[in-house]
């Protein structure tokens, strides 16, 4: 009897949907609390509104927790995969691997930048890698990284940012700086043990050059972005 490898369904769309649900609940809860000024209401209305908020908060937390656990535990995609970008580019079918690594690293970078929760689309990252990565030896890794950076921004891989975001960079620079940091980290030579420190270092470097990065990304200037990668990759 022939043995066939079972076809594993791609869990990424479901993972993405659960993350979307989690994001909506978190952001919705924050908005509700910010919008409803319970303290300024007269006594009976304040009690009623407070009770409703607590109920909604409890519901949001349980669904959020459920969605988080399902996304993390059941569906996977949270291991910090860390193959260098140049290796992934030259592998067959590495888009899923890239997207998973990109998602985990970008989530971490956004936190390091002091930004509140944003939605990160792993599906958009996968699609960008599929469209942009090329085996053409005439296109350098830094150039491919620059092209991907622009495509990731255009694909809105980071969603739900607002103007006042992030303690360490100006609001409008959050998205390009965070994406740049991850792409820089992916290109840097590092051991498994150095992964976290390297990501931290890539984030620091991106923050230090936030204005240059944001300017090059706004202009969709692949040459400038490539030059920044060439300059910084050896120093992560």
């Amino acid at each position: 009897m022939s043995r066939q490898t079972p076809v594993t369904p791609d869990a990424m769309p479901l993972r993405e949907a659960l993350r979307g649900l989690r994001f909506m609940l978190r952001r919705g809860g924050e908005t509700l609390v910010e919008t409803l000024s319970v303290d300024s209401l007269p006594k009976p209305a304040a009690d009623l509104a407070g009770a409703v908020l607590r109920e909604v908060g409890e519901l949001a937390r349980s669904v959020d927790g459920m969605a988080s656990e399902m996304a993390k535990t059941v569906l996977g995609g949270h291991e910090n995969q860390s193959l260098p970008l140049q290796d992934m580019i030259h592998q067959q079918d590495a888009a899923g691997q890239f997207a998973a690594a990109f998602y985990v690293a970008l989530s971490s970078v956004v936190r390091r930048l002091g930004a509140p929760s944003v939605f990160i689309s792993e599906a958009a990252a996968k699609s960008v890698f599929t469209r942009t990565a090329t085996h053409d030896p005439g296109v350098s890794t830094t150039r491919q990284a620059a092209n991907m950076t622009i495509s990731l921004i255009e694909a809105k891989v980071v969603r739900g940012t607002t103007a006042e975001q992030a303690a360490r960079v100006p609001g409008s620079a959050l998205e390009p700086v965070a994406i740049f940091a991850v792409m820089l980290w992916l290109q840097a030579a590092r051991s498994e043990a150095e992964n976290e420190a390297a990501l931290d270092a890539a984030t620091d470097l991106a923050v230090a050059l936030a204005l240059d990065i944001a300017g090059a990304c706004t202009q969709r200037n692949a040459e400038q972005i490539e030059a920044l990668y060439t300059r910084l990759v050896p120093h992560v």
Binding site: A197, A201, D204, L205, P234, V236
Partner: protein, 196 residues
């Protein structure tokens, strides 16, 4: 020679030559944070580190050594020394350290008590320099007795506030060199050639 003791042993281990590792943000940051921690313990005070300022100083330092790096290999050793001076210039131009409390374990008339942040950054640069010199050239670094003269530190602090390039001259002074005080942050050999 000064009695001030450097702490190159507090720098993190690396499999790479130090001259390479120090130009990586991850090692530089780890080394700086460890050195600050060791200084906190030694001086009896707490330092707050602004990591954004530290990263900006590192990037400016990289840019300045790239700009001034000599092509002449015979100047390599002199430039090692100069690179440490440029590092101090960048750290003092936008200080990433802020001390809270007074350094209880430092002598009242010492440089560490007078300007803890400047002292810590200077000792860090000298320690990195000493470790790199020992590795590359098998030489020990000696600190000039100028380091024990509080007037030198007073001058350093006063001048560095208005002109960070002064810091580069100060570090060269502590290494026993006579800096070019007109252009203390321009690699002297290169400047001499340009003026010929």
């Amino acid at each position: 020679m000064s009695d001030i003791r450097l702490h190159p042993e507090s720098l993190p281990a690396t499999n790479e030559p130090l001259r390479i590792a120090v130009r990586r943000m991850r090692w530089f940051k780890s080394a700086f944070l460890r050195y600050v921690q060791a200084s906190s313990t030694e001086l009896g005070c707490t330092f707050e580190v602004d990591e954004t300022k530290l990263a900006a100083a590192f990037v400016r330092w990289l840019e300045s050594i790239e700009r001034q790096k000599p092509t002449d290999k015979t100047q390599r050793r002199a430039f090692f020394e100069f690179a440490a001076a440029l590092m101090l210039r960048e750290l003092t131009s936008d200080m990433p350290l802020k001390v809270s409390g007074t350094p209880a374990k430092a002598k009242a008339d010492s440089a560490a008590a007078f300007w803890p942040e400047g002292y810590c950054c200077t000792m860090f640069c000298l320690s990195v320099h000493a470790a790199a010199m020992a590795q590359e050239f098998k030489t020990d670094t000696e600190i000039d007795h100028a380091a024990d003269d509080l007037r030198q530190w007073w001058s350093f602090k006063e001048n560095a506030v208005t002109d960070a390039s002064f810091s580069a001259g100060f570090l060269q002074l502590l290494l026993g060199r006579e800096p070019n005080w007109v252009f203390p942050d321009v690699f002297r050999a290169r400047l001499s050639k340009e003026l010929e």
